[in-house]
């Protein structure tokens, strides 16, 4: 079984937000408006966290793109009462929107705040619906959602490879954020496959995983900043 994972080079990340936009349009993530957003109700599958360090005048802002980490030992799937979030056969942490009862226990259990919740019925203007990606289902009010590593792309890539009776290559399956990154800060692939970029990058001396000590075994690896 491949181990789909991501390596994000913080040296290269400029915090431009291209990954966030690409993710939103790829996955039909709806907007909640500025007022709700201020209240902390915005939905992000890919988010850019800002870490401010130092004191004036030596202030530095670091940007950390944060998708779901698709942990190998996910704390969120353990607590779900109805198996609406689970680790699927591809090793990805999946959400079942139509089964979720909206208890938000998985949100509470995730140490990375990777999950979002629809507090109101999502408002989708006509323009939004016209531009929707038909491969990704629309989420309803009152359920938890999060980054899927664009698993609909994986499905497609697998089918296409099967039809052509060939092995899947690295470029067959790339999530929207990795594709959109202008500085190539996001690499994606099979962490266990020697031929994939990520398996080389993960061996870098700069590689680390956020809160590794929690034992969640995230499949998103960061390359630390050198400055």
């Amino acid at each position: 079984m491949p181990s789909w994972g991501m390596v994000i080079d913080l040296n290269k990340c400029t915090g431009c937000g291209a990954c966030v936009s690409a993710c939103r349009s790829e996955n039909n993530v709806h907007n909640v408006g500025p007022e709700q957003s201020r209240l902390g109700r915005a939905i992000f599958w890919m988010d850019i966290l800002e870490e401010v360090t130092g004191e004036y005048p030596d202030v530095r802002v670091h940007y950390i793109p944060r998708p779901c980490f698709h942990c190998d030992n996910p704390p969120c799937t353990k607590v779900c009462p109805v198996r609406a979030t689970y680790k699927n056969e591809e090793g990805l942490v999946a959400q079942v929107y139509h089964r979720c009862i909206g208890c938000r226990y998985c949100m509470v259990a995730c140490p990375y705040a990777a999950k979002s919740f629809s507090w109101y019925e999502p408002k989708r203007p006509r323009e939004f619906l016209q531009a929707c990606n038909p491969d990704v289902s629309l989420r309803m009010k009152g359920v938890v959602e999060k980054c899927s590593f664009c698993s609909h792309r994986l499905q497609k890539a697998r089918e296409e490879a099967d039809m052509g009776k060939r092995e899947m290559t690295e470029s067959d399956y790339q999530p929207a954020c990795a594709e959109a990154c202008p500085t190539y800060a996001i690499a994606f692939g099979d962490l266990d496959n020697e031929g994939h970029t990520v398996s080389r990058l993960k061996k870098s001396h700069r590689a680390f995983r956020i809160h590794e000590e929690l034992g969640t075994e995230p499949k998103v690896i960061y390359l630390s900043r050198e400055d």
């Binding site: 966290l49 800002e50 009462p81 198996r83 979720c100 009862i101 507090w119 109101y120 009152g142």
Partner: protein, 446 residues
Amino acid sequence: MGPGRDDPDYILYQPVIEKGRGAYLLGGALLVIFFWTMVMYSRQLSLGLGVTGLNRPISWGFYIVNFVFFIGISHAGTLISAILRLSKAEWRRPITRMAEVITAIVLAIGGLHPIIDLGRPDRLLNIFYYGRLQSPLLWDVTAITCYFTASTVYLYLPMIPDIARLRDLAVRPRWLYQFLAWGWTGTGRQQEILDRAITILMVLVIPIAVSVHTVISFIFSMTLQPGWHSTIFGPYFVVGAIFSGIAAILVIMSVFRKVFHLEGYLKPIHFRYLGTLLLIMSLLWFYFTFAEYLTGFYGGEPHEMRTILFKLTGDYAPYFWTMVVCNFLIPLVILSNRKFKTISGVTFASVAIIVGMWLERLTIVVPSLANPRLPVPHQIYVPSLVEWALFAAGLTMFALAFLLFSKFFPVISVWEIQEGRKEGLEAVKRRIMTYQPEAGPGEGKS
């Protein structure tokens, strides 16, 4: 035997037989409040949880706080009544019924809270279709339904002789008492079976009660969140639950004592004895709280520390320190001082404890969520009017249910009072005799 005023315990039946206008007025007022809260709730049902003050990362708030709080109060009853029955404490007789009623009512209210917290209450039954027993939420569903079943049966069984008496007195509605009396005539064999059943239940109910609040604490402690992931959470929650439960009994006792003129039954000694128990629980609560925070503080793990400082000196400091005053300082001063340990003193301490324990639940649930490990945008949690309304709904339901109960059944177990009068004195005397060194070695067995 008519319901004559010469019956020494007539005053216990009085609220059931003579339904005054006051009860209807109070009931009506409570219904109006309850109706208003339901209108507020309908807003949440139609619009979604957005009408609350919840957000990300603080995705649990009042509903979960009140859930833990109400279920905590429910430990009053059954547990206390079971322990007092089991230890053959003679002074329990006027207290047990009220304690058991609290449990049944509050458990029903508390059990509804996780449902109003759901984003999709329409999918509630998924818990049964797709339930995962590995999830602490399922442990809760199991423990609470089990406790609710056991405690309602445990409330009902000792009521049968009293219900039968109301049936014999031809109190209306007759069909109700006829049905609930279950053909009780008070024969020796019936009494024997009843005693046996009560004995089995009171032993059974103690571990169930302990398990309930333990698994409620597990909801929190099974996650990795700072401030929650603690091994002492189980016993800490159970202690807090019994603590708030006893306080609730004391408040209810002093209310009914005044309203129904039960001064002859609920005496200062009952308040003093329960007050002593309350003091012990207060000290135990402080011990657990101290141990919990010192361990986190001394270790100084950064995220743990941030949550602790958030409570001790940060945004939640007012709530945290009010909690310490209400749960520890006030009870300590009042309950360890003979001069203050009067009925009104104990009642005051109890009210303080109920407030303090609610604050404790608040300072456990919210601060851990408000301080996530990753630098997500900082949010504050301000409960909305809907959340306050549903809190009011819980309290109103409690008052309404208790009012209803007291107008249909005696709030003090009459037959147990009579039994105490008839046999209690002799039994205690016999028992004490067996403790004495003069008694034969084989006699102290039962």
